[in-house]
């Protein structure tokens, strides 16, 4: 039981990273981005290719994050920027991200010839650490440490720094931010880049955990990310972390007490259920009515 809880928290740590990335894009750009699923995949592929070319693992991870960040910014600066300028509806924006998702996904599928690839994990921490009567794989401990660190840094950045305040101002109203001297496009690009990096990080941990990588890995993780932000409240940094941990625990307990095959279905059920009961998330703040 205790061991399962530890496993759940470890699983939830990666989920939190996913949620943080989506919540950042949602909070700043008000876009539900289906292409996020492919930022996860492209980031992991970037790392995979770098490792295959004998780049030390730490740098390979950074390269993967940069790849996803750049792809994310590229998509935002081309498709999204253009649509925002024309004042396209939220509806059309979501659909456009689905189109981008499909393009990126088919390119990744083509690159890997529709096969599942082996993800080299030699450079990642292995073995496990004993904590009391439980043991935790080092890799998951690392992802837990990183997601907590990311949460703290993001929280500090958004609330305590000049750039973070500017980001929150852009999130609230880009035209007002512009009037105060903030280059809103640069802020959008920054938020999207960071979000892409987080997606890649989650994708890399996921691949390292299973030591495989497939072009469709992102689909499942995207749903996880959506579930996390629905649970934690969209746009909330703290909520994303709590939501991620909660989802990790729920999945582990479901596998333990019900059946392993339902741990995915439960994710979707949670999304529907929470949206019906508490549309602003279990920990979210009520969004002001935007008329």
């Amino acid at each position: 039981m205790l061991q399962q809880t530890v496993n759940g928290i470890a699983l939830g740590a990666t989920y939190s990273l996913l949620g943080l990335g989506v919540t950042l894009i949602w909070g700043v750009l008000r876009v539900l981005n289906f292409a996020y699923s492919q930022f996860i995949v492209w980031g992991a592929f970037g790392t995979l290719i770098a490792i295959e070319n004998h780049v030390p693992t730490v740098f390979a991870v950074l390269i993967g994050m940069a790849v996803a960040g750049v792809v994310a910014v590229f998509v935002d600066m081309t498709v999204m920027q253009f649509m925002r300028r024309r004042g396209t509806s939220e509806f059309a924006l979501v659909v456009a991200t689905i189109g981008v998702y499909y393009i990126l996904s088919s390119v990744a599928q083509d690159r890997s010839k529709s096969q599942i690839e082996t993800f080299p994990i030699g450079g990642f921490p292995h073995g496990s650490v004993d904590i009391g009567s439980t043991s935790l794989p080092s890799l998951q401990l690392l992802s837990l440490v990183i997601s907590v660190a990311v949460m703290i840094v993001l929280g500090y950045w958004l609330n305590r720094t000049r750039l973070g305040r500017a980001t929150r101002t852009v999130a609230y109203s880009a035209p007002t931010a512009e009037l105060l001297g903030v280059n809103s496009r640069a802020i959008f690009a920054l938020a999207v880049f960071v979000s892409g990096c987080l997606a890649a990080l989650a994708g890399i941990f996921n691949a390292a955990d299973s030591s495989t990588l497939s072009y469709s890995d992102g689909d499942q993780l995207l749903v996880v990310a959506f579930a996390v932000i629905v649970l934690g409240g969209m746009g909330s940094v703290k909520g994303a972390v709590i939501g991620g941990l909660a989802l990790g625990l729920v999945q582990v307990y479901t596998t333990l007490y019900v059946s392993g095959v339902f741990s995915n279905a439960i994710t979707y059920l949670l999304i529907v259920g929470v949206l019906i009961v508490r549309p602003n998330g279990l920990f979210g703040v009520r969004e002001e009515a935007r008329v």
């Binding site: 000049r162 929150r168 101002t169 609230y172 035209p175 931010a177 512009e178 105060l180």
Partner: protein, 230 residues
């Protein structure tokens, strides 16, 4: 010096401004009067870069700023306090002021904030309140203070008296008078002519997107102003 040359603003087929020309000299207060929908706000939006002019030019000390992004125009020294005050509601009053000082050198921010709180004393007690929960008058004060935090050479203010009780409007006006003393130019858009004329010597009357009359308040006389404005 700010010069508008034949400025034209359109929203789709609607022509909000139909070729407006005017000049705001340095160290001056110019009041722009006119009824609702005359194009006053569109003019300010064009100056600050929020809307792109359809035709015409906006020159600021000789530089054409008519196609610049708002954040660049602010850096050149023109601040715009928009209609409706544009509070960043979830941020506190202090954070709003800090945002106003986004382009101000760090060393001057504290000093500027102290001066703003002196100018608008009611804000002092509200520093850690979120901007969204301020009263209308306090929001207007914060909006102007926030605009001044960037130390602009010209501040364009849209309808500062709108929705305010006369006593509060007077306080805001008094603060504006103090700003003028520091050498900042003010472009004041108002519907309340009487209020605007207490501050501004030069007046431009806009109606139907065009300049209807311009001159000093004595030249124009109260009759003309009243006829245009009311």
């Amino acid at each position: 010096m700010l010069v508008l040359e034949n400025l034209e603003v359109r929203y789709g087929k609607i022509r909000a401004l139909r070729g407006v020309s005017l000049t705001v000299p340095d160290h001056a207060v110019v009041a722009v009067l006119g009824p609702n929908g005359a194009g006053k706000s569109s003019m300010l939006k064009a100056i600050s870069g929020t809307v792109r002019p359809f035709a015409g030019r906006i020159l600021w000390n000789g530089t054409d700023i008519s196609r610049m992004a708002p954040h660049k125009i602010l850096r050149l020294g023109i601040a715009h306090v928009p209609e409706g005050r544009a509070m960043i509601a979830p941020l506190t009053v202090e954070e709003n002021l800090q945002m106003g000082a986004y382009i101000t050198p760090r060393s001057e921010i504290d000093d500027m904030q102290d001066r703003m709180l002196e100018l608008f004393p009611p804000l002092k007690a509200r520093l850690s309140t979120t901007a969204g929960s301020l009263s209308g008058g306090e929001q207007q004060m914060l909006a102007i203070a926030r605009g001044l935090m960037s130390k602009p050479k010209l501040i364009a203010i849209d309808e500062p008296s709108m929705g305010l009780a006369p006593a509060v409007a007077n306080d805001v006006l008094a603060a504006l008078a103090a700003i003028v003393q520091t050498g900042t130019s003010v472009l004041l858009v108002e519907q309340n002519a009487a209020l605007a004329l207490r501050l501004a010597h030069d007046v431009v009357v806009i109606g139907h997107g065009e300049v209807q009359a311009a001159g000093t308040s004595e030249e124009l006389g109260h009759d003309i102003l009243a006829a245009y404005v009311e």
